[in-house]
Amino acid sequence: MLKAENLTYIYGQNTPFETKALDGADFSVSAGEFAGLIGHTGSGKSTLIQHLNGLLKPHSGRILLEGRDIWEKGAKMRGVRFAVGLVFQYPEYQLFEETVGKDIAFGPKAMGLSEAETDERVREAMEFTGLGADLAEKSPFDLSGGQKRRVAIAGVIAMRPKVLVLDEPTAGLDPSGRREILTHIQDYRAQTGAAVVLVTHSMEDIARVADTVTVLSRAKPILRGTLDEVFSRREVLTGIGLDVPAVTRVLLRLRALGLDVDAGAYTLEDAVRAVKAVRAC
């Protein structure tokens, strides 16, 4: 679906502050895939995702959307922006319209959809994000923080992107708000077959929703694979200030204590199963 090859991007080129934010980075996501993207602050995550819809142009390398280089001559950047929907960190600060409905309609309108189609997209996006239809006429500034966040995500979903990219969509939300947002994103993926790229600092979120994980460090991916493939390399993760989920750390400690438990469990449910399996055998 979307593929980034050998991307290099340099901030402040030819200044004393020149920094390579991406240094030969590869990344790809297939239709229907839920890809997690992790790495410490400054590892290049945000720079990478801004390349995925052409907000930044790489100094070298290319980005292929359904096989087509988005920067080749004659390519339509507008189409790319609609196909790859980017939700920034703290997107609620970008709400601007008078009503929730108008704010969500901004994208579909810009795409040139008719009023009827736009209304349909708004209704659908509000449903995907669990916003009651009665909120459409409210000012977004009268909503709670969690609701505003969902309005902002709905605004991107309303363009029905084939790739939905989210930069820490759960930051600053309470636990139930976090769970809800992730569930809505999973629903969108399940019902539309879209690819999702999720940037997060939460290993627990990754364990819950992601199919694959890419770990960025110092401007390039250092690990990429299934949850098992990535979380089995704990020493690499701790080496860059990350770690496996808390329940996995408990299982690893149980193994160290001499209990023969499978430490390849990353969610609470799987960890419970792993411990019970020891008793049952």
Binding site: T41, F141, S144, H201
Partner: protein, 295 residues
């Protein structure tokens, strides 16, 4: 003088124009028509914090946590009821109260004013007219206390999130506050930055006896405090040690919260325990299971 903070029947409502926006610290909108009459942000809160105590404030978004924190240094004052800090009513001289209570917020980028780290830490002292030699001494001490001495000549915007947040803490520490209040200081940080901030806060409490009140959405952080206070609808819903509060998983869930993963795991396995660390959790499971025959 054991008691350092006291809330007595404190209620507060935001003025309607800014009510919706200010709760999140977001910029206020341009819409003229505001038909909402918000529920009170605080509704009859009574709470006492002892000197040297560390208190984690939990609660879903909009439960009143941030409002409570802003009451601690008189940034907000109650509509009814009283807030007393170090024996002073917070409605009194703001300068005196703010020297006792240092506030640190979520976004480090919004709290740093100078272009060099030590100048930033010196900002408040300079404004208070503290003599330069003493400023130097207090700034150096504050940076040492947060482990940032070697960065004192750096530009703040080139630091990591965790480092910036520690500079922000040093800025309030330079005032020698009795109380350090932090509103979600780890929300925007990566795992390493979170650990840095938590370790700094705990060390300041242990070594300097600073009383700490900290808002967080991370249950594993709350588990490290002496006491957990859970807010709901502007009132205190649960109050106790982390072990007491996190045993009440169902109530917490109803309040939009969870328990730390270690507690959830132990409880899902039917253990009568609320382990707060991974070590405790593994030990509890191990002891429950080692009696069992396994192959």
């Amino acid at each position: 003088m054991d008691e350092i903070i006291r809330f007595e029947h404190v209620s507060y409502s935001y003025p309607t124009e800014v009510a919706a926006a200010d709760k999140d610290g977001a910029a206020s909108g341009s819409s003229e028509d505001r038909s909402v009459t918000p529920a009170p942000a605080l509704n009859g809160v009574s709470l006492a914090v002892r000197r040297g105590e560390t208190v984690a404030l939990l609660g879903h978004n909009g439960s009143g946590k941030s409002t409570l924190v802003k009451m601690l240094n008189g940034m907000l004052t109650p509509d009814t009821g009283t807030v007393t800090v170090c024996g002073m009513d917070t409605g009194g001289d703001p300068l005196k109260i703010r020297q006792q209570v240092g506030l640190v917020f979520q976004n480090p980028d919004n709290q740093i004013v100078a272009t060099v780290v030590d100048e930033d830490v010196a900002f408040a002292l300079e404004n208070l007219g503290v003599p330069p030699a003493e400023i130097r001494e207090r700034v150096d001490a504050a940076l040492r206390d947060v482990g940032m001495s070697e960065y004192k000549s750096h530009a703040p915007h080139r630091l990591s999130g965790g480092q910036k947040q520690r500079v922000a803490i040093a800025g309030v520490l330079a005032m020698n506050p009795t109380v350090l209040a932090l509103d979600e200081p780890t929300a925007m940080l990566d795992p390493k930055g979170r650990v840095e901030v938590m370790e700094t806060v705990r060390r300041l409490n242990a070594e300097k006896g600073v009383t700490v009140v900290m808002v967080t959405h991370h249950m594993n952080e709350a588990a490290l405090f002496d006491r957990v206070v859970v807010m709901d609808k502007g009132a205190v819903a649960l109050d106790g040690s982390p072990r007491e509060v996190f045993r009440r998983a169902e109530e917490l869930q109803a309040l939009g919260l969870t328990v730390p993963q270690t507690v959830a795991l132990a409880q899902a396995l039917g253990l009568d325990a609320a382990p707060l660390t991974e070590e405790e959790c593994a030990d509890a499971i191990y002891h429950a299971y080692k009696g069992e025959p396994h192959c």
